[in-house]
């Protein structure tokens, strides 16, 4: 058993990287017309790490620009939307990468958090790249199921590092954001 876990985990590799999160596009959903309420706009603007929010009516999305060097909390964005009474329909994050090699169903660490890439082609991220958050609560249930099936690791269900992920400096219980490009 231990061997199996070791083999599985050997496919994981964590690279410390200074990925600076620059901006995001967020689409909200809910039982009532999400864009008809100013609540989401206000809630996002209130976040300490948010510099500007532009409401794009045509695309039904909020274009968020983050403060330079600020500690951006992806969960914080979701919480703001939920506190306003809505849910996240889609969240795209744009961050700058410095030659980071990422593999499918693998983790990289950034700014104290960990990104677990799913349904991607192995590639090297350089410059400004956008990724979509595919954790529970960041997209529809149907869409989430598709990404959840793309890995056997339990972290996709909980959003937290489990036993098998505890390797290469990924602390057990720490937050893992499941993302795709």
């Amino acid at each position: 058993m231990k061997k199996l876990i070791l083999i599985a985990c050997s496919f994981l590799f964590v690279l410390a990287t200074q990925a600076q999160i620059k901006k995001a596009e967020l689409t909200a959903t809910g039982l009532t017309c999400a864009m008809c309420s100013n609540a989401i706009n206000v809630a996002l603007k209130d976040l300490s790490y948010v510099d500007k929010v532009v409401v794009d009516i045509k695309k039904s999305e909020y274009r968020i620009t983050f403060k330079e060097g600020a500690d951006v909390s992806i969960d914080g964005l979701k919480n703001a939307v939920e506190d306003a009474g809505f849910s996240v329909g889609k969240l795209n994050i744009t961050a700058s990468f410095d030659n980071v090699a990422v593999s499918n169903d693998a983790h990289i660490s950034y700014k104290g958090n960990t990104l677990h890439f799913l349904e991607i082609k192995n590639q090297t991220l350089n410059g400004e790249k956008s990724f979509t958050v595919v954790d529970k609560g960041f997209l529809t249930d149907k869409q989430f199921k598709k990404y959840a099936a793309a890995t056997k690791m339990s972290c996709v269900q909980t959003g937290k590092a489990a036993g098998c992920c505890v390797n290469d400096n990924v602390k057990e219980g720490s937050r893992i954001y499941h993302v795709t490009i």
Partner: protein, 169 residues
């Protein structure tokens, strides 16, 4: 000046949140108040002011072309306008559309017959901020004396109130 006004409306919002549903004791807001000018451009390019409707029962209606519930509400407003305008009921529509062409297209499509003006800066529009508009649609109903009587009434409740106010001197 604007901060005082905003505070006034924040007070209104708090008041509504706290007030009992059955009795809505409204704060004393009168659209003849010089702090609430509300003179904005019309589709034709000239401008009208809310105070032009003094003496009428006025529904100040905030909406936008992209607000689906607002577009549905326009159907009801059309019926109310047709039924009660001749008796002294007026609707003053204020759009927060940022694209003027979208606004004009919606007026045409919904066959809007009542006065329309625009403050085309979305949620940040001065009018939206002054009147504390946090969602669309938002409406304020004024009596013939220009006093605020009710907010966000819909359908039967709105019609009832309009009839009631029209019947008063």
């Amino acid at each position: 000046m604007q901060k005082k006004l905003r505070r006034l409306f924040l007070w209104m919002a708090c008041f509504f949140a706290l007030s009992v549903q059955a009795q809505q004791a409204l704060p004393d807001v009168n659209y003849n108040d010089p702090r609430l000018p509300l003179r904005l451009p019309t589709p034709a390019g000239d401008s009208i002011s809310l105070t032009a409707f003094k003496g009428k029962v006025v529904l100040l209606d905030f909406w936008a072309s992209w607000c689906i519930p607002c577009r549905h509400a326009n159907k009801d407003l059309k019926k109310l306008y047709a039924a009660y305008n001749k008796q002294g009921f007026e609707i003053f529509g204020v759009s927060l559309d940022e694209e003027i062409s979208d606004w004009k297209r919606a007026i045409k499509k919904d066959k809007i017959t009542w006065p329309q003006v625009i403050d085309n800066r979305g949620w940040e529009a001065v009018t939206a901020v002054q009147w504390n508009v946090q969602e669309l649609p938002t409406s304020y109903l004024f009596n013939k004396q220009g006093q605020l009587v009710a907010m966000n009434l819909e359908r039967e409740e709105l019609e009832q109130k309009i009839k009631e106010l029209l019947a008063k001197p």
